[in-house]
């Protein structure tokens, strides 16, 4: 058994055929506890009724985290405490880019905080350039021979971060996610999905979690458990997000988390605020072949001025009727397309939008993170429906004004009524803009 692979990890080992003595540094521990009516999984922290978790002969397994390899009472955890045997080169940071004065300010605050292994939330608006801002922090940790983990709930974020970190740092990096073909290897720097964190145990001296709010970790409890397991008890934790949501706000309010704000985008502009318009029974109208008057007006003005935009709708079944109406009411010269998440032509349509072949897209889905269209407006029909969480709405609004050339743009919602998510999204954006304005006036005073 290669004990190096167990360092900072908890590996499931079957009791069968493991009667011989273990190497001295291996810590063996149970995988589950059996309670009166439930079983408790010590990997994912979830409970399952005994009937659901039952195996023959009074054994049990955890059905909740099966895709990481089955936890059962037939196996035990083998763990080797993290030895931190790393030999990073002196000039570990290869990146030579520059941070704006705003970014530098936050970057050094974070760096200092992580040197002291604090727990901190970096609340940076969409399009703030937060990846580059953490490079100094990561470099500092690597030089101190700390083990560093970068995690995100989303695989696509991990896949996007990996080449950027590979280019920026002169250390080998392990990339771990459910779809990865390569097996696990022991590296000083690891990029992985938050789900994979459940395989680690007290491994990281510095753990950075990007897009904390993102699907599928809507419930932050599971995420916080995974990070707590993977982080050394003395380790530093940096959570990054554009939309903190309730749980994290609460943690900040209670003082469990320090917080750093980056309220301005890398080009120094404020976030676009959300404008809402009430229009009752819009779906019934849609199905009768009509559009709310304000939406129609909004669409026509943009077609006339050739202002590009994205229009979001809650359901795939809304796309058809909407397309029919738009083809009828808009001039034939206006080109557009409808896209949904599993659309087979999704990539070509997005590319055509990038190439200015379409004036706008109507879509049910937040297109991938990397996808930005400079100088667009955004509209959401039915933003009050439950598919749009507050973090999704903030992300959608954040599509506007990304580029330095066109930092302004408009965000409009058409709704039946105000939902909690809309109010939360508006509040988060307003909070950041208040901080942003203050910062701008401080900077102009200097």
């Amino acid at each position: 058994m290669d004990t190096k692979l167990l360092a900072g990890r908890r590996q499931l080992v079957n009791r069968w055929g493991q009667d011989q003595a273990q190497p001295a540094n291996v810590v063996v521990s149970p995988t589950m506890t059996v309670e009166k009516t439930q079983v408790h999984c010590l990997r994912c922290d979830q409970r399952t009724s005994r009937a659901q978790a039952m195996l023959p002969n009074d054994q049990y397994y955890c059905p909740k985290c099966l895709n990481l390899g089955r936890v059962s009472t037939l196996a035990r955890f083998y763990h080797v405490p993290e030895p931190n045997q790393f030999y990073p080169p002196a000039d570990v940071l290869a990146w030579q880019g520059h941070l704006s004065s705003l970014q530098t300010r936050v970057a050094s605050e974070v760096k200092h905080s992580m040197a002291n292994h604090e727990h901190r939330l970096l609340w940076a608006v969409t399009g703030a350039g937060k990846t580059e801002m953490i490079f100094p922090t990561v470099a500092q940790a690597l030089q101190r021979k700390e083990r560093v983990g970068i995690a995100s709930p989303r695989v696509d974020v991990c896949l996007e971060l990996y080449p950027r970190f590979t280019a920026a740092f002169r250390v080998p990096i392990a990339l771990l996610h459910g779809r990865a073909k390569e097996s696990y290897s022991y590296k000083q720097l690891t990029i992985c999905t938050t789900h994979q964190l459940l395989r680690f145990y007290h491994a990281f001296d510095l753990l950075i979690v990007d897009e904390v709010d993102a699907f599928p970790y809507a419930s932050n409890k599971a995420l916080l458990y995974a990070t707590k397991q993977a982080l050394k008890p003395t380790g530093g934790l940096l959570l990054m997000t554009a939309t903190p949501g309730k749980t994290l706000f609460e943690a900040v309010r209670r003082g469990h988390l320090q917080v750093s704000y980056l309220p301005l985008r890398y080009h120094g502009h404020l976030l676009p605020e959300i404008h809402c318009h009430l229009c009752w029974h819009w779906r019934a109208m849609l199905n009768k072949g009509r559009l709310p008057a304000h939406l129609l007006f909004w669409l026509k003005t943009r077609c006339r001025s050739q202002q590009r935009f994205l229009l979001f709708v809650p359901r795939i079944s809304d796309l058809g009727p909407l397309k029919d109406i738009l083809q009828r009411v808009l001039p034939h010269s206006v080109k557009f397309a409808t896209v949904y998440s599993n659309d087979p032509d999704r990539l070509t349509k997005v590319q055509a939008m990038r190439d200015h072949q379409y004036l706008f897209l109507v879509t049910t889905t937040i297109l991938e993170r990397g996808v930005t269209f400079p100088g667009i407006d955004v509209g959401v029909l039915g933003a009050d429906e439950p598919v749009f969480s507050s973090s999704a709405l903030v992300q959608i609004a954040g599509r506007v004004g990304r580029s330095a050339k066109c930092p302004n743009g408009q965000v409009h919602f058409w709704i039946n009524e105000y939902s909690r998510s809309i109010r939360q999204a508006q509040k988060e954006i307003r909070t950041m803009n208040i901080k942003g304005r203050r910062l701008l006036s401080e900077m102009s005073a200097l």
């Binding site: 079957n14 195996l55 023959p56 397994y61 099966l66 089955r70 037939l74």
Partner: protein, 223 residues
């Protein structure tokens, strides 16, 4: 109730006709959409392996006929298609024992209609029992009485599922009959999860016949 395979909610209404019948009502454990992905064998069947065959005994079974001088009578419920492969993967290799409920009612209702003295699911090795934690075949059916009849020796080298067709056919007898068992004039119903080459079932049937069994028939979930 949620679908055991895709986790979507299942909407189920008790059919009115069933309300007036006695006997247990079994609510579905998977949704219509998942159910539709599994494909029943509809016939005409090969009378021996139970899989599709246009004209009686299929070529494979004719080889068994030549080798043993007799053939098994197997009933095979489902095609081994993509959905079944995925099901088997999750049930056996991931080890999600809850999935035993998916085909339980159907397997059991077939068994209830058979005439037999001993019901014998193909045993797994001690090692499988200690690592997987269950016998996947026994899981598919209710309690059985023949579990003491056969034992399975530890597999050496490549596991059955990783073998090629030729390798499978050359697998030596893995089973042992419990000592001092007499099966004189007893009818045996063997059960297995998948019928691949028939090798496993023929090994088991040979032992049981040698111990005096009057007849050996079998049921497999898929093949």
């Amino acid at each position: 109730m949620k679908c055991l395979l895709c986790n979507r909610p299942i909407y189920w209404q008790v059919p009115i006709a069933k309300l007036f019948l006695f006997g247990p009502l079994t609510p579905p454990r998977i949704c219509e959409r998942c159910r539709a992905k599994f494909q029943h064998y509809m016939g005409p069947f090969c009378p021996c392996c139970g899989r599709s065959s246009g004209n009686g005994l299929c070529a494979e079974c004719r080889r068994w006929q030549d080798q043993y001088g007799w053939v098994l009578h197997n009933r095979c419920l489902y095609h081994y298609n993509q959905a079944m492969k995925e099901f088997m993967h999750r049930y056996k290799f991931v080890g999600d024992y809850r999935l035993r409920a998916v085909f339980h009612a159907e397997m059991q209702s077939f068994i209830d209609r058979q005439q037999y003295d001993y019901l014998v699911p193909i045993p797994v090795t001690q090692e499988t029992m200690a690592t997987r934690g269950f016998n996947q075949t026994a899981g598919l059916i209710d309690g059985y009485d023949g579990h003491l009849l056969l034992t399975r020796a530890v597999e050496k080298g490549v596991p059955q599922s990783a073998k090629s067709r030729e390798q499978r056919l050359q697998t030596p007898q893995p089973f042992k009959l419990q000592p001092d068992v007499s099966l004189d004039h007893r009818r045996i119903l063997l059960v297995d999860d998948i019928y691949t080459t028939g090798r496993t079932l023929y090994h088991a049937a040979t032992l049981l016949k040698a111990a005096g069994a009057a007849s050996v028939s079998s049921l497999t979930l898929s093949g």
